[in-house]
Symmetry: C2
Subunit: 244 residues, 2 copies
DNA sequence: TTGTGCCAGATTGTCAACAATCGACGATTC
DNA sequence: GAATCGTCGATTGTTGACAATCTGGCACAA
């Protein structure tokens, strides 16, 4: 990028096919980030005119971006009435974690027979990165790093459909954690929360890994459930008449 | 619906909130049906102007409908270049079936402890419906009935996220079967293909059910693989310059 | 007071015109 | 003859204006 103006033709194109970004794609990213970072809380209205002004685009691309986020489950809409950021119920969280248990186990099942040392090393590395962000008290980074840690298994599985499914779950998880973070100030994953997880990954018994995944999810859903019950309304209602 | 014109106010609205359908929603349905029925084969170009004329809408709603189908995995697009119906590779089919094995097992795991007699009866009923359409030599109905049969487990699980995941898999499966049907004339699911499946569902051992699901999928991926290899190009290329 | 109907504002849905980009074809040059 | 460059048609991306619909509140009557 830094040397793209050295010549008329795009030098970068020599190395990789990179289609010019569309406004829509840009909006999807920015809007998704705004939602997942908690800038626009669950339940908050997403008025098209307001957003198109905020992002300085017309409503066309914006609406298409919204469609995409709707399909990702981050946004819900009612025809002719309104659009708002999705809210998470206790049942939703249960569903996320139960499905995640199944998918993550399956992902490990794909990786396991390969006894991939590079994978394990990277797992350790990402945990170190996570710990570093915890030590630095950077909650937002901690959330992303936690997700990246678990995301590795899905990447390593090489299973595109599985990765897609993880993407859907990941977004919803992030949605919840952002709310948690906003409410508590600190999300508070323990420094050692992945110790046994990694230990199992380096072990020889797949059943142990399987049990560890289930246990990790159980812990996750526990904290989550407690938090959600203590905070019946974490949404940004009312749905209408707010200028964002 | 039959009595909606008996009075000025919509009588149906008394019982259920039913927002007026939008053009976009209509297009999504029609386009999805056209693709899944094989009217527009995998790889065929989806030119916006042609489609907007065919469905008699402007490009706005049409594009939004396309976004949705893209997110469902039925359509792929390259910015400024073109859009076409997704194609299925052998790897894709493997991924579909492997993930489906996991999800369907999980779905059964949810239903199993309830020992739900209504569920089992319905399972039998849907199999009868499937057999009827096979006997009637109605291939298109057979495909839908086969999917409906398996869909019951996901519905019965009551797991919304799981149902969503099944929806994604279902579309891709249908995409393949439509191609299969178009190429072979007959898809040919056996009349008795679900006998052991149902037997296991009525049995007491969950492990037997689990094994049966895996076996069912193994048979599916086998047929599928053989077919795809025998037919390296089932797409409707070229991607550009065709009026559909 | 309670219920009912209507009205106005807000919001999303739809459209048609215009701009940006891409891919292929052919002219041109060495 | 091969490679390169420019041009042109096709296609998608973007915009602003207009239409359809919903929600909430207010006037009015029982």
């Amino acid at each position: 990028m830094a040397f793209s103006d050295l010549s008329t033709s795009d030098v970068g194109a020599l190395f990789e096919r990179v289609p010019k970004a569309t406004l829509r794609a840009h909006i999807v990213e920015r809007l998704r980030h705004a939602i997942l970072a908690g800038d626009i809380p669950p339940g908050a209205p997403l008025v098209e005119t307001a957003l198109s002004e905020r992002f300085d685009v017309s409503r066309g691309p914006l609406r298409e971006a919204l469609r995409q986020l709707i399909e990702e489950g981050l946004v819900v809409t009612v025809p002719y009435t309104g659009t708002h950021v999705a809210e998470l119920s206790v049942e939703d969280v249960h569903e996320i974690y139960s499905l995640r248990t199944v998918l993550e186990t399956f992902a490990f099942e794909q990786v396991w027979p390969r006894r991939d040392d590079r994978f394990r090393a990277e797992l350790r590395r990402r945990n170190d990165v996570l710990i570093a962000s915890i030590d630095a008290d950077d909650d937002r980074a901690s959330i992303l790093n936690e997700l990246d840690f678990h995301g590795l298994v899905y990447e390593a599985s090489g299973h595109k459909l599985l990765q897609r499914a993880w993407h859907g779950l990941r977004g919803r998880l992030q949605l919840y954690w952002a709310a948690h973070h906003r409410a508590h100030g600190r999300r508070g994953p323990k420094r050692d929360s992945h110790d046994s997880y990694i230990e199992a990954a380096f072990g020889a018994e797949f059943d142990a890994m399987k049990a560890e995944i289930a246990d990790h999810m159980r812990r996750g859903v526990e904290t989550t459930e407690k938090f959600l019950r203590s905070m019946p309304d974490l949404s940004g209602k009312p749905k209408r008449g707010v200028k964002s």
